[in-house]
Symmetry: C2
């Protein structure tokens, strides 16, 4: 499920902090990694005019305040105490110039016409100034998981009964999932087979501080966002460390390479080639309407152009309403939109109820699903990525229904956080007693809907009282407590030093036909970091920035 | 003298149309180049939501209106009649995405904070959608002239008496030139020698339609702008023709390569190396204050970073006021600013009176001139680029004082338009009678001050009546009438088809030490195109866009 692109700059949903339930496997105390890199205080006040300020107060925090803040917070993995402010100013300036020159930009919400067309109302993307330390072992673990999740989604998608049964209670409580299930049912009735299947996924993780476990937050199987901008931040950080690494005591080679956008383009092109007939068919990107599309500089800017440049594959952009009015199903199953045959459909829209304001959009979705075009994702892949399925897969002996390899199953299970449906009375009781250790996740997409802290208790009590079946719309998840580390975050040209927590997303690309798996790869990553002024209760106020990782 | 960066989007000064005086060498009627490229009307309505509109009315012009406009105007060199609007929409979309991803951006005047820092309030640069046809012979001529002008400026700069004498009348009429001359006088008095001399120039031309002559508009010896963005537009147009050339009947190889920004960076780095002692000295870019610096994404973003990336040369940015307060002259002549030795000074500010609001800025300029730092430009180079000197050099037998090579002299003379001082009574009489054939140019810099049409007559009559000596502040120039051709211009995301005229600027880089010329190169080019709704009188309303050339 795609994190809405518009949610990044200020919303918290894209970096949700989940309820923590002590993991049975470990109770070791957190032992921070020894400080590897110390920063010299060499003076480099080369650029004037830059303000290092606070977003909250619009003023420069005093040294005392910073020191106090640091003392009160977790011990950071990399120590930013010693960096000279003049040097930071210079790096910030260079980072902003680099961002402007390399398309690391997003729409500026303060500019009305932003996002109506490319090239208007742009501002640099919110970014971390320097990469965030991340243990190499956990990085490797996350990378290894990508092809296993790819395969799991594919296997689950083939089990229509499992999807329908697992989501039966959700169906009664969530209208959106219900409509998706209706389309899925129709496909089952007509025995529709997806012989060529393309998945472009992103699995999101947080590193739990106390257990030192890499735990999955969610798996996105539709509209996995930021594959483009994430790569650019990696390039930016590598460039900055090439220039300033010596002074900072950091080595650019410790930032893993990130070619997600190229690999996604490759997967789309390979799928297009696999469709094969006719060769002049296009890749169709399903986009949001102009009104809703606040800004989407990511996939459509950073991946799709490669289809043309590198693979000579033509692409078109259509809204769901346009597909409804211009689309038709030819007798051989070909989807034609505006007179053009469509080989591959990439959904950059359609993951949230707001994308379906009328029956017209649902009609378009059904039309596409009935066609022979390769859908990224198919309705089955879309459903396989729901939170409810994530929770079902975490039940004992469920993974075994889909995968044969015991090692793979063990690897998956290791990254599963505690996940429960609201039929588990023991867990509901525990969550009412200790709501701070849980997060309630509604099936609804688009972010910002998770329930934390005291609200968990209130909502559970209300649902118990009402007994309306609405509880089918939620799952309960262990809350994860990642470690906070001191970070420089830049938004709107202002650099702000604060404690922040991070979420790592790893992209995966999967393509297969009737006989063979053509592609099953891990494809780069996305690091997002957000201010956490408190690591204790609720979701901290703050904003998420794009980041990269520095292996430790 | 640099065209103010802020003048591009809407001002007319950067594409001044000069008064025409029939050239004695030719009276041939204009014979348009035969149409080489016809555009097929292949249907490609691939992208939705783009508006092809009119800037003046904010509405889509009807086909009738377009046809009518075309019929009334000059016959275009390349015929845009046949291009399908759907194809244009798709190319526009791609052009906007490409611009956003490659730093072809400027500050958005509608966004208040734009230009305060890099990365804020950006919008795609105003651009022509496709390159503008330009005769290969004239292109080669302009390129050949670059090193000759480089040498001429250097020779003129060495003749302090010529500069002082030529500008004596200007001095009494123009306070800014007077201050520059004062500094120049002081240098003459102290026998200050510039042993290492660096020039980064741009010579601007228009192609006169009736005479088919390439005629010089002006020579910029300080702050020659757009070396960065100009290169990017060339890259954009080549990319678009690589993608759509077949459909358009255009070949990307006919767009000359443009590496001005890399060559300027190379020249700055070579100058830095030539300074040699100490090796840790920096390149200092003199910048405008934050208040005045509406946006300067060009040299400081597109050239200066290469100094670091490619040559490992450190650069700093300082305003004139900062240089005054932080700068000092060491006993050996070294300029130190903020404790750092300066090897090379690049002036991105200081070319206009507005950059000198107090004595502090003049004091900084003097301090720099007294130092051993390599100044780009020195006060002599700066003065050698004034309009008055341009006019003096056009007088008979003046070029011969500075250059030996007769071929070079002939080449320069061929590109000189008619230029006169206001002591030439015959010309003043002619200009009062036929003001539409002349343009009056004040010495004042910063653009927008040229006088056209009826105002020429009025101003000349007033000056004659007053006899105040103010006439020393002006020169008269032949007005040049370039051919208009049908062009697609894009600003603020809107594509507008109109008749437009173009100005070609060719960059030159020159570096020498006491013994040898180290660099004397032509360095890429800048094409600027502006709407000309009428090719007859005055300056047409319109805006200038960045463009490239397509050799015919």
């Amino acid at each position: 499920m795609g994190v809405g692109h518009s949610s990044l700059p200020s919303s918290v949903d894209s970096l949700c902090i989940n309820v923590f339930k002590p993991h049975p496997k470990t109770s070791a105390l957190y032992n921070p990694t020894p400080q590897k890199h110390l920063f010299p205080t060499k003076k480099h006040s080369l650029f004037a005019g830059l303000k290092i300020g606070s977003f909250n107060h619009g003023r420069v925090p005093g040294e005392m305040e910073i020191q106090k803040g640091i003392a009160a917070a977790q011990k950071p993995i990399v120590d930013f105490h010693g960096i000279d402010e003049g040097l930071i100013q210079k790096i910030v300036y260079d980072a902003l110039v680099w961002s402007s020159l390399h398309g690391l930009v997003v729409g500026d919400r303060n500019v009305q016409r932003s996002g109506k067309l490319p090239g208007l109302g742009m501002v640099h993307a919110p970014i971390a100034l320097l990469p965030t330390p991340f243990p190499e072992s956990h990085w490797k673990q996350a990378c290894e998981l990508a092809p296993i999740f790819n395969e799991l989604v594919d296997r689950v998608s083939l089990d229509g009964k499992f999807l329908q049964d697992s989501l039966a209670r959700t169906k009664t409580a969530d209208a959106f999932t219900s409509r998706l299930l209706d389309i899925h049912s129709k496909m089952l009735e007509m025995s529709k087979k997806e012989e060529i299947r393309l998945g472009l996924h992103r699995s999101d993780y947080m590193l739990d501080e106390k257990t030192k476990l890499l735990l999955q937050i969610e798996l996105n199987t539709i509209s996995s966002s930021f594959a483009g901008l994430g790569c650019l931040v990696t390039d930016l950080h590598r460039t900055l460390l090439d220039d300033y690494g010596e002074e900072l005591g950091l080595d650019s080679k410790m930032i893993p390479g990130n070619t997600a956008r190229l690999q996604f383009a490759e997967a789309l092109a390979k799928a297009w080639a696999e469709y094969n007939n006719p060769r002049w068919a296009v890749v169709m990107v399903v986009v949001q309407t102009e009104e809703r599309n606040i800004f989407d500089p990511d996939l459509t800017w950073h991946c799709i152009p490669y289809l043309g440049f590198t693979y000579n594959v033509r692409s078109i952009r259509k809204t769901l309403a346009e597909i409804d009015s211009e689309g038709q199903l030819l007798p051989d199953g070909t989807l034609a939109v505006g007179g053009q045959a469509v080989a591959v459909i990439y959904f950059r829209a359609g993951y949230t109820p707001a994308d379906y304001p009328s029956e017209s959009e649902w009609s378009a979705r059904l039309l596409m699903e009935q066609s022979s075009a390769i859908k990224c994702p198919s309705i089955s892949y879309h459903l396989a990525g729901t939170k409810k399925i994530q929770q079902e897969l975490a039940k004992p002996n469920v993974l075994e229904r889909f995968l044969d390899n015991k090692d793979d199953i063990a690897k998956l299970r290791k990254c599963f956080a505690g996940l429960w449906s609201l039929v588990d009375l023991d867990i509901i009781k525990e969550a009412i007693e200790k709501p701070e250790l849980f997060v309630m996740k509604p099936q609804r997409e688009g972010g910002g809907n998770n329930i934390y802290g005291g609200d968990v208790k209130e909502t559970l009590l209300r649902l118990q009282k009402e007994g309306s079946g609405e509880d089918g719309a939620y799952i309960l998840m262990q809350r994860i407590f990642p470690a906070a580390s001191l970070t420089y975050l830049i938004r709107d040209g202002i650099c702000h030093k604060d404690h922040a927590i991070s979420e790592l997303g790893v992209y995966g690309a999967y393509l297969r036909n009737k006989e063979n798996v053509i592609m099953n790869d891990q494809c780069g990553y996305l690091m997002r970091t957000k201010v956490s002024s408190s690591n204790e209760g609720g979701v901290a106020a703050g904003f998420a920035v794009l980041d990269s990782i520095y292996l430790t």
